[in-house]
């Protein structure tokens, strides 16, 4: 059943708060965090995930393209042509 991360990327980019603000929120006494503070933290990590999944998807595409490009070429001398088939054409 091995299940993997699905690339379910929302189409609309999420506005990211200032990273210093996130650090400040982490340093704050958590009992004093408001709902708004928590929503900012959650939004930050959601945006992080979107970026990660996009980068991972792009990385996969790049890897696949590199694989195709790196496929070893068959030396010309090893390639068959019609005469090798011994057909009486």
């Amino acid at each position: 059943m091995t299940e993997e991360t699905s690339a379910n990327v929302p189409p609309i980019p999420i506005a990211r708060p200032d990273p210093r603000l996130i650090q400040e929120l982490f340093d704050k006494d958590p009992l004093e965090l408001s709902d708004r503070d928590l929503d900012l933290i959650i939004a930050e990590f959601r945006a992080d995930r979107v970026n990660y999944l996009q980068e991972a998807a792009e990385g996969k595409k790049t890897k696949a393209a590199a694989k195709v490009a790196k496929a070893p070429a068959i030396p010309v001398s090893d390639q068959l042509d019609l005469s090798d088939l011994g057909l009486d054409l």
């Binding site: 059943m1 091995t2 965090l33 928590l38 959650i42 990590f45 959601r46 992080d48």
Partner: protein, 337 residues
């Protein structure tokens, strides 16, 4: 207290199990077993003696354990809140509102629980590790709820009273005076069948082709077999096995993977026969007053916590134990979480 000349260890002082009954019978042999205590005995009888019989626990709890507890608690909170929403009349609240509320409260709880948490120290650099940090805990939880919150093909079942089937303690008799006990993270429906779900945090790869190296560790596995048995007997739930719900915590990302581990009736029967055999072994060690070391296990999983103690001369072991360990926090399989 008299110190054993061979091992250098003194008997444990009177143990306070915080109001819970002792898991040891009148003869001093354990009669309530859970996967932790059974695993200790299977790994190394001396480690079992130090932990379960003499109650030595590290003064500073492992950061892996702390991180895992925060993670489990937050997921439990999320499922409990979602179950509450399903029990109440739907009113004006949508499932999306309930999800957002559950995510926020789970994150709030995790931030409160983990305030002051310190990640482990990298033994090579001497600096704090950068994978299981507090920020990465919150990132992992947010990503988990994004991944599985609103669209999970494993549905948490509800108990008869409507509560979510999460963090369930079980206990059942295997013969006249022997009990097995444990705690299940979650029971879920996947397709037509029921499974125990167990959450794991790891630094190993849990997605892609290499994931099999991680998941193959759970068959055979003491903990997963006991959970299958516990769900079947204690809850009368015919579970098909355990779903390992794993997350890889890396410095820059968290990746999620799941796999099934099945247990047949014959697997469960063989496991039970093993439990009796280990119980007999514990009786013999107790009667002889000697719990041998299993030196082949000292290096497992980054090294046993007692490795430095066992490496010392028996004469000084007790003094070193008193420096880094405490006897104030005994492990009791009977204590519900």
């Amino acid at each position: 207290m008299s110190q054993d000349l061979l091992t250098g260890l003194s008997p444990a002082p009177a143990i306070d199990y915080n109001g819970w009954p002792s898991p040891f019978d009148d003869t001093g042999v354990q009669f309530v077993w859970d996967s932790t205590s059974l695993g200790l005995l299977k790994t190394c009888p001396r480690k079992y003696q130090l932990t379960m019989v003499l109650n030595w626990q590290p003064k500073k709890r492992s950061h892996h354990l702390d991180f895992g507890i925060y993670y489990h608690t937050a997921i439990e909170t999320y499922h409990k809140l979602m179950a509450q929403y399903r029990m109440q009349p739907q009113g004006t609240k949508t499932i999306l509102d309930a999800h957002e509320h559950a995510v926020r409260e789970s994150i709030r709880g995790a931030l409160i629980d983990s305030f002051g948490y310190e990640p482990g120290i990298d033994s090579k650099t001497g600096k704090p590790k950068t994978d299981k940090t507090r920020q990465n805990l919150i990132r992992t939880l947010v990503w988990y709820f994004e991944q599985y919150g609103l669209s999970d093909n494993c549905e948490t079942i509800s108990l008869r009273d409507g509560r979510a089937a999460v963090e369930l303690s079980f206990r059942f008799q295997i013969d006249r005076d022997q009990l097995l006990a444990g705690h299940l993270d979650q029971i879920v429906r996947f397709g037509e069948d029921l499974f125990v779900m167990d959450h794991k945090t790891t630094s190993a790869t849990v997605t892609g082709a290499s994931a099999r190296y991680y998941f193959q560790n759970f068959r055979p596995d003491n903990q997963m077999t006991l959970y299958s048995l516990g769900a079947a007997i204690a809850f009368g739930t015919p579970v098909k096995g355990v779903i390992i719900d794993a997350v890889q915590i890396a410095v820059g990302f968290s990746a999620f993977g799941r796999d099934l581990t099945h247990r047949s009736q014959s697997d469960l029967e063989e496991f039970l026969v093993g439990v009796y055999a280990y119980r007999k072994m514990a009786e013999d060690f107790h009667r002889n007053g000697f719990w041998p070391m299993n030196e082949t296990a000292c290096g497992n999983y980054g090294g046993c916590a007692f490795r430095d103690i066992c490496a010392r001369s028996p004469k000084v072991r007790e003094a070193f134990l008193r420096t880094d360990f405490t006897q104030d926090k005994p492990w009791n399989p009977l204590e519900p979480r």
